[in-house]
Subunit: 206 residues, 2 copies
């Protein structure tokens, strides 16, 4: 049975979202038919204005309501501790912990030659500028928290090399990489070799 | 970290959809930030016009583009074989098989005293009218395909009783219930008692 066009259109847009297949998309579309009209309006409006109302933070390139994101606008955050992430949602994951007191830098992607993403396509130059512009009165830490994928690792290495070439005294900038090993709750039996080898190399005194 | 308002709004609407929790909702909202603007517009429009552009079939109360749904408008369908379903998406599931050649009747719910849904709140009266208005030249079959839940079963029973009380010769209307038993691919070990008991009672000659 071919569905009415209005439903087909909604199914089509839902299907384009990640993790939503044809069956879920159909179920969601039919679900919307049974909700109060006002919810559909709110839904439509929220998505319609999303891109218009979102700003990009001028400092860290995260999402923001105004020119600066909440973190960059917060004077209590330590500007000399910059956590470099791939995308804004990664920053959200770290913020959720509520432990990190530094600031962020959102690259907006990782270096990926297969998809034609080079260092100039992501915010690496801007990161170098940020680091360069910090007064070197006190130590600076750049914590690279890009994903633990091949591309994330390559990007981390690239950033490390570029920061080291900046005209800053060697002992003033500390470059760190987010810890890698077995996730909490993991069973050694099912760990892949790469993760296990990382975990072994990263062993710590108890 | 509190997210920018535009994102929070989108997360909030996604969260209200069935099967989408806070984490998925956030992921979807951030996903939308990275798609071309035109997709967000299409998304917003499709949902915005959904309710306005959907009609309810005058005959079977399914979803339709015009006054009649595709099935009711199709002259080749057998009007004397009415499959009664709970909601329009159930009809879609049966249509997908491509085997059933009769027509449908969408109740728009099942009798559920706990949620204050009585027989008068769903399209039972309209179903009785449909059956009564069919000329009794040939046999009529009403196949009740409401869900196999307590409410679906009660609704089926109620409809059966009401049809039997109609002023139609007894042998002209056949009331059937969709088959119940173990689903295809099921393992007896994991079947619940109610289903297993149904399956045993519904055994057939091989």
């Amino acid at each position: 049975m071919s569905l009415p066009k209005a439903i087909r259109d909604v199914v089509a847009v839902f299907e384009r979202l990640p993790g939503i297949g044809p069956k879920s998309a159909t179920r969601l579309a039919f679900y919307l038919l049974n909700v109060p009209d006002i919810f559909c309006e709110e839904f439509s409006d929220a998505i319609g204005v999303l891109k218009k109302n979102i700003k990009i933070c001028k400092k860290c390139f995260s999402v923001a309501d105004t020119d600066l994101c909440k973190v960059c606008a917060d004077k209590s955050r330590n500007e000399r501790e910059i956590c470099v992430v791939d995308k804004a949602i990664d920053m959200l994951a770290i913020e959720r912990m509520g432990v990190f007191k530094g600031v962020y830098h959102v690259l907006g992607g990782v270096i990926n030659p297969l998809e034609h993403v080079g260092p100039e396509d992501i915010k690496i130059f801007e990161l170098l500028e940020r680091v360069r512009n910090l007064e070197t009165l006190d130590k600076i830490e750049v914590l690279i928290a890009t994903s633990l994928t091949m591309e994330g690792e390559a990007t981390a290495l690239y950033i490390k090399n570029r920061i080291e070439k900046l005209d800053i005294e060697d002992d003033m900038v500390k470059i760190t990489r987010i810890g890698s090993g077995l996730p909490v709750g993991a069973d050694l039996e099912y760990a892949d070799e790469a993760t296990l080898s990382r975990a072994m190399n990263g062993r710590k005194n108890m």
